[in-house]
Structures are given as structure tokens and as C-alpha cells.
Amino acid sequence: MSRNAQAFEEPILEVQAALEGLKAQPENPRTTKEIQKLEQKLAKLQRDIYANLTDWQRCLVARHPNRPYTRDYVEQLFVDFEELHGDRRFADDPAIMAGFARFRGQTVAIIGHQKGRDMKAKLYRNFGMPRPEGYRKAMRIMQLAEKFRRPIICMIDTPGAYPGIDAEERGQAEAIAYNLWAMARLKVPIAVIVIGEGGSGGALALGVGDHIAMLENSVYSVISPEGCASILWKDASQMEQAAEALHLTSRKLLKLGLIDSIIEEPLGGAHQDPVEMAKRVGDHIAAWLQDSFGVSDSERVALRYQKFRAMGIYSEVG
């Protein structure tokens, strides 16, 4: 566990370890009191540390190895999930998972980036970095949802689209571009939830929806802080400054009008209580589904257009 922890989590982990040690002992009034005290200390510690995270530290939380991934939410929230594979053109890309499932009685399409937990799974999922066939699979499932009139839920969690020779050969740029174009035209409701890392175009290719939410500690950015630092500071180790400058946190993006809502995370981040986190995501989806009923298809497409049309801050002279 501590091997995975980020440096700023160390004090939390120490108290957690002490607590576990105490709880393992036979119960007596003294330890009970001690446990109570430690639990209060832990809660305060988590509150303090998480209230004062730097933007870079939030990137680390978004990338936390124990953070729930798309599959974790699918398992917690949906019943009868059936994964559907392949883009029907070239291959199946495990960096994106897609399929249909039932959510509180209603059938929905669910599409999301998928990272791997252990090294073998990480390699299999290509660290959540899709190739073109991943985006084409995603679009195929979205078009199925359109045909059979089922709402679409997209979960974003990727460092970015895969930068490799094969990906370029098969049209990484075209695959992303086509998704942006086609998602703007879909008539069915589309919810987008950034659950971890929103890495640039590779994230946006699943991100053109009617409602865009971010988990509190997730990030969404045009470039990784490391990449930005190496270009604009000529030094990749300036990523802390770059993270601050890029405005990639949920609160900053809400202020800029680029997202619609923030889903608060349990104390200490989603990875501290994945069950509670999934419950909150579920409640968010349920409320969104409820809201989307009253809107007609043409109205929905027009609203989605206006939403993205309004994005951007510029000035006008004369």
C-alpha cells in the first residue's frame, strides 16, 4: 500500500497503520478511546491535506494507482454489463471498454478509458492510452446507442491518445476528429464524467456530451504538466508550475465554464472509499438521466452545440 502512496499521503498512511494496529488488539476501554482519538485525528488530517493540495498534487491523486477505474464503476453501478469488443475494421483496443448495461432499470451504453492495476494489466490496457481502433470502437457503440435510442455514459481516464508509429499509420488524428464531429450530431443524451485523467484530445474524443462532470480530484488538460513544462519552461521538472498555470483542476475548469458540475470525492480521495465514490457517481447519473427526459432530440443537439460554441475566452476590438 505505502509503495503506491504519494508523498503527501504519508502522514495519513501512518495514522491509518496505527489505527489498524490498535484495532487488531483485543478490545478494552483504553484502546477504544485511543481508536476514537486516532479516527478524529485521521479525519482532520485528511481534511487539511486534501483542502490544501497543489494542482500538481491533484494530478497525482488523479493518477493514483488505487483510484477507481471505469471497470470499478461499471461493477458497482450497473447490472448485466455486456462488454462489446472491436471496431470491425482492424482490432479490439483494450484501452477503451464499451458495452451496454442496465442502470437502475434503464438500459444505457457505457464507454470509458480503462487503465490496468498491475503491470501485466497496465501493458494489456496500454496504460489507458487508446489507439485509433479504440476511438472507432467507442464510436461504433455510440452509433448502436443512437440506433436503438439508449443514453450514453462516457467515462474519461487517460493520459492521452497513444503516440506510436502504428497509431499514426492508422489515423489517430482522424479517429479523434471523427468522434468530435460525430458526437456533436448524436441525438441521444450523452453524459461525460472525468473520473481520473483527462489527457488532451485523447480524452476529448469521448468528451462531447450534454453534461460534463468531473470528480473533484480529477484533472482535464490540453497537455500533461510534464509535457507543457518541457516545452514552455524547457525543463520537464517544472511540472508543478506548469500544473498550476494550465488550470486543469475541476474547480478552475468549472469557473472557466468548460464543465457543468463537480462530483465531490470522499475524504482523502476516491481511492479511500471507492464504494462511496461509486454511489455518488451513481446518484449523479440518475439525476442527469431524470433531467434528460424532458428534452427533445432537436433541442438536445442544439443545446449541445451552443454549449461548445460558447467555450473560449477572447476579446473583440472595434
Binding site: P163, C228, L258, G312, I313, E316
Partner: protein, 284 residues
């Protein structure tokens, strides 16, 4: 004991090809290193007579060569970049924008103009690499979106000459979202049956390639242009291998089915007129 010894050579980063424009009479071709007489280069549409490398040209030169009698009107010139994130890298973004405007680059990284091309009323957007590497920020996104919307309202075909390193980092996710904004506008244009032709020039990478540059009814490129999603250096750092010869050049993209044709500068107008005629909306 190891059977194979891994040579620990540092990753070779290809030196950026910089075009030093001398005041003098001669210019070196960044592709074949030939020394070319400037007047000859200009006579040859700024194309290297030896290797056919297409030098980057100013939007104005592009317009003069495309619009009939070099007559056209600029559109949407009032849109300017601001500094929404008060971004400061090694330089302040605000200062960069100011000094570019002082240098007379008030069009930001994209110019929009309207005029007749072979007698066909056409809107042409041309990106300018001299303005922060042709990067796409909010102003670029807004200008291109307005160009598309004008095309939609007046049922006038739209052509975009891309030349860009991608989204503008200094505006963060605001830049990223321009990809979605422009693509959504193009979807409307497409539904209305108004043609959009994308012309990719050297270089077109990142968020520009991964949005409008790849969404043309017809996608064409100038010869030997660098075109890709990820830049070659990023790919090299990721896979730690030498990249194949000609990788991510126009010819490579044509071979892999991403382009309809490669069109040299001397033929550009003639071909565009032909495409516009083929795709002209049928009036009934």
C-alpha cells in the same frame, strides 16, 4: 552474463529544421540543403526547384495566389487573443500577444478571407505559423467557427489551410475545447451540404490535425508536409526507436489512406476550383 549488450546511447533528437531567412540573395532549402537563388525561389512559388519542398508562405501570399485577380475581403478581424489564465511560462503570454500585434500580426494565428476562386464565392481560412507556431487558442477557434458559420448561412464553401503545432498551451483547456467547437460547426456545415476542403501544409500536428484538418469532404496536402497527431519527437521518446524514413510526411499519409491527394502549390488553385465545382451545392 548477458548475451546482448544494450548500447546506452542517448536518444537522438532530430535537430529542428529552422529556416533562417537571410537578407541576401540566397536561401538554403531546409529539406535538401540546396542553396537557392531567392528570386528563383519566389518565381517557383516558394518551392525548392531541386527537391520540391514547399516553403512556408505568408497567408497574404497564399490569398494572392488563390483568389481571382488577388481580390478578397478579410472577415472576422475583430477577434483577438486575451490572456484568460494569466499564463506565465518563461515568458508572459500577455507580452507575447502584445509584441506580435505590434509586429503587425493582428490576425492572430489564422486569417479569414472571402472572395472568388475560379468565379466561385469561397471562404478561405489560412493559418499563420509565424504567430506562436500557428497554435490554436480561443481566438483561432472563434474565427474559424465564425468562418464556418458564415459559410453555412450564405451556403458558401469553406477551405482551411492548416499550418499549426496544435492547441495553444497558454490557454489550457480553453484551447482544447476549440477542437470540439470547430468540429461541431463543421458537422452543421456538412449536414447543410456545403463543402469543406481541408488543405494540410507543413507542419500540421496535434489538436489541429485531430479536429478540422482531418474532417474535410476532401483532405489534401502540399508535398512533404509534416502531418500527424503526436509530434515525431514525442513518438521517438515514447517508443525509443528511430522513426522510419518519410514517416508522417504527406506521402506517408496518402499511402495510409488519410489524404485524397497531394497537390503542389503550382496546381493548387486549379485543383481547388475543380473540387469546388464537383462539390458545389445543387440548387433546385
Amino acid at each position: 552474463m548477458t548475451w546482448f549488450i544494450k548500447k546506452s546511447e542517448p536518444i537522438k533528437v532530430q535537430k529542428e529544421k529552422t529556416v533562417i531567412v537571410p537578407e541576401g540573395m540566397w536561401q538554403k532549402c531546409p529539406s535538401c540543403r540546396e542553396i537557392i537563388y531567392r528570386k528563383e525561389l519566389v518565381r517557383n512559388d516558394n518551392v525548392c526547384p531541386k527537391c520540391d519542398y514547399h516553403f512556408r508562405i505568408d497567408p497574404k501570399e497564399r490569398y494572392d495566389s488563390l483568389f481571382d485577380d488577388s481580390r478578397y475581403t478579410y472577415l472576422h478581424t475583430s477577434v483577438r487573443s486575451t490572456d484568460p489564465l494569466t499564463f506565465k511560462g518563461l515568458k508572459k503570454y500577455r507580452d507575447q500577444v502584445k509584441s506580435l500585434e505590434k509586429r503587425g500580426l493582428e490576425h492572430d494565428a489564422v486569417h479569414v478571407a472571402r472572395g472568388a476562386v475560379g468565379g466561385i464565392d469561397t471562404i478561405i481560412a489560412v493559418m499563420d505559423f509565424n504567430y506562436l507556431g500557428g497554435s490554436m487558442g480561443s481566438a483561432v477557434g472563434e474565427k474559424i467557427t465564425r468562418a464556418i458559420e458564415t459559410g453555412l448561412e450564405d451556403r458558401v464553401p469553406v477551405i482551411i489551410f492548416s499550418c499549426s503545432g496544435g492547441a495553444r498551451m497558454m490557454e489550457g483547456a480553453l484551447s482544447l475545447m476549440q477542437m470540439a467547437k470547430i468540429s461541431a460547426a463543421l458537422a452543421r456545415l456538412s449536414d447543410a451540404g456545403v463543402p469543406f476542403i481541408s488543405v494540410l501544409t507543413d507542419p500540421t500536428t496535434g489538436g489541429v490535425t485531430a479536429s478540422y484538418a482531418m474532417l474535410g469532404d476532401i483532405n489534401i496536402a502540399e508535398p512533404k508536409a509534416l502531418i500527424g497527431f503526436a509530434g515525431p519527437r514525442v513518438i521517438q521518446q515514447t517508443i525509443k526507436q528511430e522513426l522510419p524514413e518519410g514517416f508522417q510526411r504527406s506521402e506517408f499519409l496518402l499511402q495510409h489512406g488519410m489524404l485524397d491527394a497531394i497537390v503542389s502549390r503550382s496546381e493548387m488553385k486549379q485543383k481547388l476550383v475543380r473540387y469546388l465545382t464537383f462539390l458545389a451545392p445543387v440548387t433546385d
